[in-house]
Amino acid sequence: MAQQVEVSHFTAAFSDRVILNDVSFSIPAHQFTVIVGENGAGKTTLIKALIQTVLGAKTTGRGQSHHEQIRVNSQNLAYVPQFRDLGDDYPLSIASFVALGLKKGLRPWLTKTEKEAIQTALAQVDLADLAKQRLADASGGQKQRAYIAQALVQNPDLLILDEPTAALDANHALALVKRVRDLQQSRQIGVLWISHDTSWVKDFADDYLWLHDGQVDFGLAKDLPDHASSHHHQEVNHV
């Protein structure tokens, strides 16, 4: 199977502190991969480097090694960031928020196909009935699903999510995992999911990417080492 992500000799550092030291790994196409690791292990830094590569930025990481290379096989990448500071008076409806994801072309209004794509994306995250409701009035779980719908409406072949369940309780978090897993399988796309909570990884993910001590371990989700999740409870308390 073709590789979706290939990283070789990647190093990332903030001032003097090296957070990822000469790491290399690859992820096959159409996989649900969970990225785990403690706070500050470099999870967000790594995906930002992947994203900038797809967007065509020339520099990747700190470029400390001449062999450093990042290759991401994606024509259409969508990203659900960890933080969205939209405010309590955010005026847009859920459907209009999802429509922001349609970025191609100059035409300011929506075509019939685009309207259908919005409806499909909303239905896939079970928000079709709430399309006209204000996003600001939605619950935490509904907001997360709206963020994912905005990513899905772009019809991505690679979907990257940064801690999408951080603000959700265990039941809603698991429901969101199952939904994204279903979408990943039905659409045959790649998913990179950053998560602190590793309780569901063995049941719903294909692979894991564990960032620790400047290194990266890649393996099948069912083989995720127990100590990869040992710091989970401690960190959640900080959130």
């Binding site: 933080f83 005026p91 209009s96 928020f97 349609l102």
Partner: protein, 261 residues
């Protein structure tokens, strides 16, 4: 009222300005750049004062000063300083310079009042042509960059472009804002820029849920205030800005009050 040429000119200018302010204001309010828009108008004041001092048209001074300020603020955006502190420093300097240029240029009090509070009834046919050119420029730029600007204002986190492109987009946004502030100052003056650039757009947020509907209602509120304000100014012989300000603030307060139910 409409048989007078100066009233015809005022209505044409007011309409152009309201359309631009309503559309750009929607982005400004969504991006929470209200305070920055006010600072740009203070910079516009300094630019106009410089125009009088240098013997240029005041609008030219405004455009040059606000665009330079927009570029400077855009450049400082990544610096280790809080944006509102940078902005307050820039506006303090701008007002100081404005006072200096007014004094150096021996500018008359009425000209200074015109800059600060607007002088739309004194607008000439040539002024309208310049305003029209600027308005068209702003609207064309917004059309060409509509989708990225929409994301930048309404969901910056969802704007997935490389960092260099994002900086360029932010600067384009600031320049559009600078031009709109300069344009709007012609009607309500640089002290009352909130009246057209932010209040109609802020009021519209209580009623509409899509970007295009927000823009349409914002333009409507701006036009309503401007047309009514011009008519009342003609009838009462009082300054236009007063009426536009009272109407826009009124719409805003009513909108808040209605939303409480």
């Amino acid at each position: 009222m409409f048989e007078e040429t100066f009233m015809q000119n005022a209505f044409i200018a007011g309409t152009l300005i309201s359309v631009v302010a309503g559309i750009v204001g929607t982005f400004v309010v969504a991006r929470s750049y209200n305070f920055l828009s006010h600072s740009l108008s203070e910079i516009a004041f300094a630019g106009a004062a410089f125009g009088f001092f240098a013997g240029w048209p005041p609008l030219l001074g405004m455009v040059i000063f606000t665009i330079l300020a927009a570029l400077a603020i855009g450049g400082l955006e990544n610096a280790q300083a809080r944006q509102d502190n940078v902005t307050s420093a820039v506006s303090a300097l701008a007002i100081g310079l404005g006072v200096l240029f007014l004094a150096l240029g021996h500018t008359s009090n009425s000209a200074a009042t015109g800059i600060l509070f607007g002088s739309v009834l004194g607008i000439s046919h040539a002024d309208i042509l310049i305003l029209m050119g600027m308005a068209v420029l702003v609207l064309v730029v917004i059309f060409l960059f509509y989708k990225p600007l929409r994301l930048l204002s309404f969901d910056e986190a969802g704007l997935l472009v490389r960092n260099s492109k994002k900086t360029t987009l932010k600067i384009i946004f600031l320049i559009v804002m600078a031009l709109s502030v300069s344009i709007s100052s012609q009607l309500v003056g640089s002290l009352l820029i909130f009246v057209l650039v932010t209040l109609p757009a802020a009021s519209a947020r209580y009623y509409q849920g899509s970007v295009s509907a927000l823009m349409a209602l914002s333009v409507f509120f701006a036009l309503f205030g401007t047309w009514t304000g011009l008519a009342l100014a003609y009838l009462t012989n009082l300054p236009t800005s007063v009426f536009i300000a009272v109407i826009e603030v009124g719409i805003y307060l009513v909108s808040i009050w209605l939303s409480k139910d």
